[in-house]
Amino acid sequence: MAIPVVLKLAAQRLAGLRSEGAGTFDGRRVARISFTIDKATRLTLSIDNETGVGLEQVANDPVLGVDTTRWIYSGTQTVDGLVLPQRATVTRRGITILDIRITGARFDESAQLVDADFAVDPSYKPFELLLGAHHPPASTQTLFTRQAEFRASEKKTAAR
């Protein structure tokens, strides 16, 4: 939904920026560009030739799975000097899965970010530790002992 954010990322990753040609979208002529968001995500954006507004975004979404996710934007609104869409329809494999509207947006100083916004609550334990409680890992010494026992039994079998 935050098209200015992805446009900034595109401007910071010019080496991977490519034109994907022109076409039409919902009766409008569009130009398509693609760029890399991170090592796992490449995004294609359709830009309206007349207004310059982003109309469609296609990208793989690691959070949602392996499928390519298509975002179709409609409407515009201006918040803190940035132009955002009003709504988005998200589809996967041609099926509409989300119908989204922006109910609030704040940028930069208005956003008032603090490190606590990204902190994990201490009560959350890493998943591996929880798994280890049920299946405690064998120590290296235990593994060596088991290997020695296995070789000894192999020798006994061969001797017979």
Partner: protein, 165 residues
């Protein structure tokens, strides 16, 4: 005869070299054209979404989203599986820190029967931390590799990591 053959070979070699050079120049030109066109489109989009200067200064964002969800995968009824019927509504709050390359998505999905599914995930340091409330656990999946990141994330909640021994 030998002189003629040598002369012919030289001409052929020069021709091949010129063809190879021409092909290389054409390929590079197409790539450059793609890059130039893309930059022009990007500049137009930047101008339309607030201007280059405003977007370059953009460092933080908080978005509140709401809407309806219809995964068609977890439908409660056969109709839910057969058609894109909204299964419930959701609220999502997204916090983006562009300066430090991290983001957080949290919120809750509410089914039509009153089922509430809270969710939260933090993207930082090349991995997504999924915070699952029951029991409180932090599942960290690498997102730095195009195949591995997507594969691991796709099976979240169902796949078990490899045993540690």
């Amino acid at each position: 005869m030998i002189r003629l053959a040598t002369r012919g070979g030289t001409t052929l070699a020069l021709g091949l070299a010129a063809f190879a050079a021409g092909t290389g120049a054409w390929a590079q030109s197409a790539l450059e054209t793609s890059f130039t066109e893309a930059r022009a489109v990007l500049a137009r989009a930047l101008a339309a979404h607030g201007g280059v200067d405003r977007i370059q200064k953009l460092n933080a964002a908080k978005l509140d989203l709401a809407g309806q969800i219809s995964t068609r995968i977890q439908g409660r009824t056969p109709e839910g599986l057969a058609h894109a019927v909204p299964e419930g509504d959701f609220e999502t709050h997204i916090t983006i820190d562009l300066a430090k390359g991290r983001s957080r998505t949290s919120g809750e999905q509410r089914g039509n029967d009153g089922f509430v599914f809270p969710f939260s995930g933090i993207y930082t340091d090349g991995a997504i931390h999924f915070l699952n409330p029951y029991p409180p656990q932090d599942t960290r999946t690498q997102n730095a590799d195009a195949d591995e990141g997507r594969e691991q994330t796709a099976g979240i909640g169902t796949a078990w990591p490899y045993p540690s021994c």
